[in-house]
């Protein structure tokens, strides 16, 4: 067979795959595309060509909708059936999967909600979606051994000021200006969420503990500042200084130390990077 013929054959297969995928993606394909695809399908009797292609088109949407439902159960509850269906249909239409795993399909859902003219009127929706993505990320982040508080205690005092922390890969911060997490918790417990509240910023810490359970807690402003600093690579001395904005000078080192002790016991710390002796 000539190279030209091989190219032509491959082109034919390519066109078929292109048409088939376009049919799946379009939801309500135009007659030209539908006719082009149907012309390539054998009429075997029994069920119609429309039914045959429709099985694939339906399965495509059902599969992607189910993934979003699995990953965002409480966003679905918050929205209710009608709005959830509107959202999933619009998202599936706008953001076809470019992922090898369905695990990642909903990654863009929070951004989509922020940009969508109907849903961006309620910023809490994007916040709930973002929180649920963070939970997924904490669930399957890479594993790493955790460091114990005794390692810090065993460090020479002269090394403490320059000491930095390396966090477990599952550790994540989540900040929002709504009561998204409180609403998520209410829905999880089968209760109706309170009305959306945008009065203050909230901050949450998510991580996967040593028991492999995904956990989260709310953060006071000083805890957020402390965590953000250490996550950014700041050292112990810098973070003690940062605490002066929240507590008295004599309380700053104690505040940092108590927080660190808690973080070690929660399994947040993977490693200590001791500072250099002055």
């Amino acid at each position: 067979m000539s190279k030209d013929q091989q190219q032509a054959d491959k082109g034919r297969l390519h066109q078929l795959q292109q048409d088939f995928m376009a049919y799946l993606l379009q939801g309500e394909p135009g007659p030209a595309l539908a006719d082009r695809l149907k012309r390539q399908i054998r009429d075997q009797g029994g069920i119609s060509l429309d039914t045959r292609i429709g099985i694939y088109a339906n399965a495509y949407r059902v599969r992607l909708t189910e993934v979003l439902e699995t990953d965002h159960p409480n966003l679905a509850l918050y929205l209710g059936d009608d709005l959830w269906n509107t959202l999933t249909s619009a998202f599936i239409q706008a953001r076809p999967s470019q992922f090898r795993s369905l695990r990642d399909f909903g990654d863009a859902l929070p951004d989509f909600l922020r940009q969508h003219p109907q849903f961006n009127q309620d910023p809490i929706l994007a916040d709930i979606a973002a929180f649920e993505r963070r939970l997924l990320n904490a669930f399957d982040a890479p594993e790493q051994p955790r460091a114990a508080f005794e390692q810090l205690q065993g460090l020479a005092p002269a090394l403490w000021p320059g000491c930095r922390l390396r966090f477990h890969p599952s550790v994540q911060l989540f900040k929002c200006h709504s009561n998204a997490v409180e609403s998520w918790q209410a829905l999880k417990q089968g209760q109706a969420p309170a009305a959306a509240d945008y009065s203050a910023q909230r901050a949450w810490l998510l991580w996967r503990g040593e028991s492999r359970l995904t956990e989260f807690i709310s953060l006071a402003p000083y805890q957020l500042a402390l965590l953000e600093g250490f996550l950014a690579g700041e050292d112990f001395a810098t973070q003690c200084a940062a605490m002066l904005a929240y507590v008295d000078a004599d309380q700053a080192p104690v505040t940092v130390l108590q927080s660190l002790q808690a973080w070690f016991s929660m399994g947040l710390i993977a490693r200590l990077d001791p500072g250099r002796q002055g």
């Binding site: 091989q6 297969l13 399957d140």
Partner: protein, 303 residues
């Protein structure tokens, strides 16, 4: 074609490992000979999925089953995917790696479905060339599974079993023979499933899948959400008669029941296999005085 057997030893009777059963499998160590895992579900950094995979892999033989290879696509092979697959295989050390004879993506968009190919000489060449590339990259033969389908193309110039055998021969790959998919496609396309089974090349079939489906009367959909029906069990017996002992497993992907329910189905597969294949029964008898195989089936699987 030679008569040399190229498949790996019979592993016995396995189940698809699903999240709902991780803890049960790890703590109860049920008498299942091996587990099949969905490759893409474990292409993550760590967490619960990888923890359980590693722990269960220490106790049971594993095989890896992929859904995103898109071997029939006209897109270039996704080398990032293949690298991730190879990396996972290096960590899991599966007995073998499988995917489907279909296409799933085009222009980088993944349908996450197993879409049918036209069965032509050209497609055989196209798919076989890509399988060889994949096998060269992975450094091992792969298995390709026949998929359930709901339509066929005017361009097709051969039957599905001819296509499957031709690709396997030209690419020198192996076959994962899904008996339920044959039943589903036979109902949807109106062919005789026994014809399909009897045409399969026994040298290349290394694994069998069994599963349930949804029957809508006029057509049947491969949903993996219900028990295996009697006609599929009958086809399984026929397949074993033709193929001889083949490592067999049950897939359940929706409406996932208690583990014990799947164990009962697996016991059915064992019973049928022992009834169908006297040589398997003879091997089995060396280790058992009564009852269904458990640990002994593992030993049998390693013979």
């Amino acid at each position: 074609m030679t008569n040399t057997v190229i498949t790996q030893p019979f592993l016995g009777f396995g189940l698809g490992l699903r999240t709902q059963h991780f803890e049960h499998v790890l703590t109860q160590q049920p008498e299942v000979d091996w587990f099949e895992v969905i490759s893409e579900n474990f292409m993550v950094g760590g967490g619960k999925p990888r923890y359980y995979l590693e722990a269960i892999g220490e106790r049971y033989p594993l095989v890896m089953h992929g859904v995103s290879l898109s071997i029939g696509s006209t897109d270039p092979l996704d080398m990032d995917y293949l690298k991730a697959l190879k990396q996972l295989a290096n960590q899991v050390q599966p007995r073998w790696i499988s995917d489907h004879i279909c296409w799933t993506s085009i222009h980088g968009i993944n349908s996450h479905d197993l879409l049918p190919l036209p069965y032509t000489e050209e497609t055989v060449r196209h798919v076989a060339a890509r399988v060889r590339q994949v096998q060269d990259f992975l450094g091992r033969r792969i298995l390709l599974e026949n998929v359930s389908s709901y339509l066929s193309y005017k361009d097709s110039s051969m039957d599905e079993w001819q296509f499957l055998n031709a690709v396997a021969e030209e690419a020198d790959c192996l076959i994962l023979f899904d008996v339920n998919n044959i039943y589903v496609s036979a109902r949807n396309h109106g062919f005789e499933p026994l014809d399909y089974i009897r045409q399969m090349d026994p040298r290349r079939v290394q694994q069998i899948h069994l599963a349930g489906h949804s029957d809508y009367g006029d057509y049947v959909i491969d949903t993996h959400d219900s028990p295996i029906c009697d006609p599929v069990w009958d086809l399984y017996s026929a397949a074993l008669t033709h193929l001889g002992p083949v490592s067999s497993m049950i897939e359940r992907d929706a409406n996932i029941p208690e583990f014990s329910v799947l164990e009962q189905e697996l016991a059915m597969a064992r019973t049928l296999a022992l009834q169908t294949l006297p040589q398997l029964a003879a091997d089995h008898g060396k280790h058992h005085s009564a009852g269904l195989p458990g640990q002994d089936a593992k030993r049998m699987g390693s013979l």
